[in-house]
């Protein structure tokens, strides 16, 4: 490795200001230490609206733990978009994400991804993972909330005889239920998995307002380490139940991101300057640069009319309005021109 690094250093004498890898990338698209990439190896349709995408990550990826998620970057019409997806593959196997087509990015991933395509990646993270020591488990999932739990089940059930997993999974219909056949087979083959599939279109929703429903299915639920993953309402109900019955102990949750509401009309919002630890209420027609300057921060600035790009600051969350065109845009990580962008709803900036 050391010799390789020396070689790269020597080669960079010839390639400066570029790095040797910029030239190697002509041959191998995933050869970059600056930008982690992966090559799609296989795409499997799961339901009509979802697919599992297997990929081989380049250097810099770290093996995922069951239940973790990763940020995936995809190009739509030339523009890089990042979304977070749970990894559905078992720990120790090549990573895969299972994506349901909701929204433009997921839609494109499900419909247009082919083997050989390059995905941009950020290493896996998240602490919605299996307990360190073996314990009886209870999994409550709804919709695509099954995805991280599937990784846990694939990791645990076939390999650990002593595992004891109860999975209560809700989906709208059998057709839309992810991993339905594989789960049924696993439950058949391994007595350490008990599977309760619920189809809400016919069976109604799992009632979590009282312990009764869970207790009927799984009488020893209080003794189990519990995991809940699904839409906001579902996870919130599980949280409330555990709060009421067990003081909130023993439940791990994974919530879906709530989308940021791009403020309607000319609304501004609270602007958070994360690195400066400052929060300011900002109107919807004042450039973020001025908002920061008024708050006494040293904000990078240049032409102040949107042409020179020397005021770029990374957007951490929220959306901004381009004061020239009125367009509302913004994704986490996007560098925005603060001199011509105003807050459109709550905004958090890397300054």
């Amino acid at each position: 490795m050391i010799r390789l690094r020396k070689l790269a250093q020597a080669a960079s004498l010839f390639t400066t200001p570029l790095a040797p890898e910029d030239f190697l990338a002509l041959l191998n698209p995933i050869h970059s230490t600056r930008q982690l990439r992966g090559v799609v190896t296989r795409v499997e349709a799961e339901t009509a609206d979802s697919a599992t995408i297997h990929f081989r990550p380049g250097r810099g990826w770290k093996a995922h733990e069951a239940g973790q998620w990763a940020r995936i970057g995809v190009e739509l019409d030339g523009v890089r978009h990042w979304r977070s997806y749970s990894l559905s593959a078992a720990a120790g196997e090549d990573p895969a994400i299972t994506v349901t087509a909701v929204g433009a990015v997921s839609e494109a991933l499900v419909r247009d991804t082919r083997p050989g395509d390059v995905l941009f990646l950020a290493p896996p993270q998240g602490d919605f993972t299996l307990p360190e020591h073996p314990r009886p488990l209870l999994m409550l999932t709804a919709g695509s909330g099954i995805t991280p739990v599937m990784s846990m089940i694939r990791t645990l059930v076939p390999r650990r005889r002593d595992a004891d997993v109860v999975l209560i999974h809700s989906a709208r219909t059998p057709e839309s239920s992810l991993f339905r056949e594989e789960l049924a087979e696993l439950a058949d083959q391994f007595p350490n998995l008990r599977l309760i599939q619920r189809f809400t279109a016919t069976d109604g929703r799992l009632d979590l307002s009282t312990p009764a429903a869970v207790e009927a299915i799984c009488p020893d639920w209080r003794q189990r380490a519990a995991y809940a993953c699904g839409p906001d309402g579902f996870v919130g109900a599980a949280e409330a139940l555990w709060q009421a019955e067990a003081n909130g102990a023993g439940l791990s949750i994974e919530r879906f991101d709530t989308t940021f509401a791009g403020g309607a009309g000319q609304d501004g919002g609270v602007v958070t300057f994360e690195l400066s630890d400052r929060e300011v209420e900002a109107p919807g027609d004042v450039p973020l640069m001025e908002v920061g300057e008024d708050a006494g921060l040293l904000v990078p600035s240049g032409c102040r009319m949107g042409i020179c790009h020397s005021c770029l600051i990374p957007l951490r969350s929220g959306q901004v309005r381009d004061l020239r065109s009125g367009e509302v845009h913004g994704e986490p990580g996007e560098l925005i021109q603060t001199c011509v962008s105003a807050a459109a709803g709550p905004v958090s900036l890397g300054l």
């Binding site: 004498l13 400066t16 919605f128 790009h309 600051i313």
Partner: protein
């Protein structure tokens, strides 16, 4: 509820955005502090209060109103007409933004690939340049590669023309180019100062680069007699000239630039220059010595750099100096509206007419007028915008200066000779 049904976070809201290391952007250490530092440098250059109101404008330009004085070439226009010009040009820009997409992204990636292949090919051929054919091929390829890198790629990427792709490898905040002056230093004098104050005498130092008298309104000094000589020396050494220019020595002497800023700029330039020098004049010739081609390779890289310098100098001097381009006084920008700003960009710039290949080799600076109107639109779109801008100029009776390369170069040199002598005021415009 289902809108983002497959975007989990770790349970805390916005968890994905909390850790800088997790974002897709360049390594966290580079992204945040550097961006702030890069911006802090120009901030430190802001002059004392007396002139600061003129140099930093509060907010964006107004859509209504008028400057103290409208430039002669636009004096016949009413406020409403100028505002309408602003709206029309905004509409042209919006139309391009609506179309910008995958095809544009593919274009810049194609150019970058081609440039890298040419560069590898050129350097590889120079390794055996004792052979004359290899020398010619290597030097030609490397010259082409350097021109493409500086003009169509570097200049335009550093303008932020490709920032919309959100690819950290092709971005104005991360790009460094094969040109001696460090990208960040150039972005300040060029993107901010030159493009904002285009051709305003006393504000846009690109008028003669503090070296040449390029406008009759610049007071004549005896040293200006050397104008043609200085320019002849500048041309083959253009990248070094720009590197020195970007240090803003004038500002430093007049106390408008701090010692710290000067020190850090000098350090950045020293480091960059050392690397550039090592690559072209030490590493490549040293490797070529293995085949006994060391000397030839050195002459090859020197030639390639000189060719690029001559070309860049010629193209850039054709941008604002040929006959027909206007310069402006400070009264003309006082109270300038968005429409007036657009007008100033159009009548202060000149295009070069020619083939597609010529446009590519000039980095589309042959569409200087369009570039100055829309400095951050992708360069491959200027060609389709040009006829619309030309038509607009015709309708409003504004000059739209263009001409073939040789004519424009000749016109520029003519001005350089004429202004070496005192006087040289513009003929009155009819």
């Amino acid at each position: 509820m289902t809108a983002t049904a497959n975007h989990p976070s770790t349970g805390t809201p916005h968890a994905t955005t909390g850790a800088p290391g997790a974002t897709s952007w360049v390594p966290a250490t580079e992204a945040a502090p550097d961006a702030a530092a890069a911006g802090a440098a120009p901030a430190a250059v802001v002059p004392p209060a007396a002139t600061s109101s003129a140099r930093t404008r509060p907010g964006m330009l107004a859509t209504e109103g008028r400057p103290l004085v409208r430039p002669p070439a636009a004096a016949h226009l009413s406020d409403e007409q100028v505002a309408e010009i602003g709206r029309e040009l905004d509409a042209i820009r919006d139309a391009v933004l609506a179309k910008r997409g995958a095809a544009d992204a593919a274009y810049i990636r194609r150019v970058i690939r081609a440039q890298r292949v040419l560069e590898i090919g050129g350097r590889a051929a120079l390794l055996g340049s004792r052979n004359k054919v290899a020398w010619v091929a290597g030097t030609a390829m490397l010259s082409l590669a350097k021109i493409l890198e500086n003009m169509e790629i570097g200049h335009n990427v550093l303008h932020g023309q490709w920032d919309w792709m959100r690819d950290p490898d092709i971005h104005s905040s991360t790009w460094e180019w094969d040109f001696v002056t460090p990208a960040r230093a150039w972005q300040h004098t060029h993107n901010d100062l030159h493009h904002r104050w285009t051709n305003v005498v006393g504000k846009d130092n690109d008028i003669g680069y503090n070296l040449l008298r390029m406008d009759p309104d610049q007071p004549w000094k005896p040293g200006n007699l050397g104008n043609p000589l200085y320019n002849a020396i500048l041309a083959p050494l253009f990248e070094w000239g720009i590197a020195i220019y970007d240090l803003e020595l004038e500002d430093f002497k007049k106390g408008r630039k701090s010692k710290e800023a000067m020190k850090s700029d000098l350090k950045a330039l020293g480091l960059k220059a050392a690397k550039q020098f090592t690559k072209d004049y030490a590493a490549t010739p040293a490797a070529a010595m293995l085949t006994g081609s060391g000397k030839q390779a050195l002459v090859g890289t020197l030639t390639a750099n000189a060719v690029r310098n001559l070309w860049a100098h010629a193209v850039i001097f054709c941008g604002h100096f040929p006959e027909g381009t206007d310069t402006f006084s400070e009264e003309m920008v006082e109270g300038e509206t968005r429409g007036d700003w657009y007008v100033r960009q159009m009548i202060g710039s000149a295009n070069i007419s020619g083939s597609k290949a010529m446009h590519l080799m000039t980095g589309n600076l042959s569409h200087q007028i369009e570039h100055h109107l829309f400095p951050d639109l992708p360069s491959n779109r200027y060609a389709e915008v040009a006829p619309q801008v030309k038509d607009l100029c015709r309708r409003y009776g504004l000059p739209y200066t263009e001409g073939p390369l040789l004519k424009q170069v000749g016109s520029t040199w003519g001005k350089i000779f004429r202004l070496a002598l005192p006087g040289g005021a513009k003929p009155a415009r009819g």
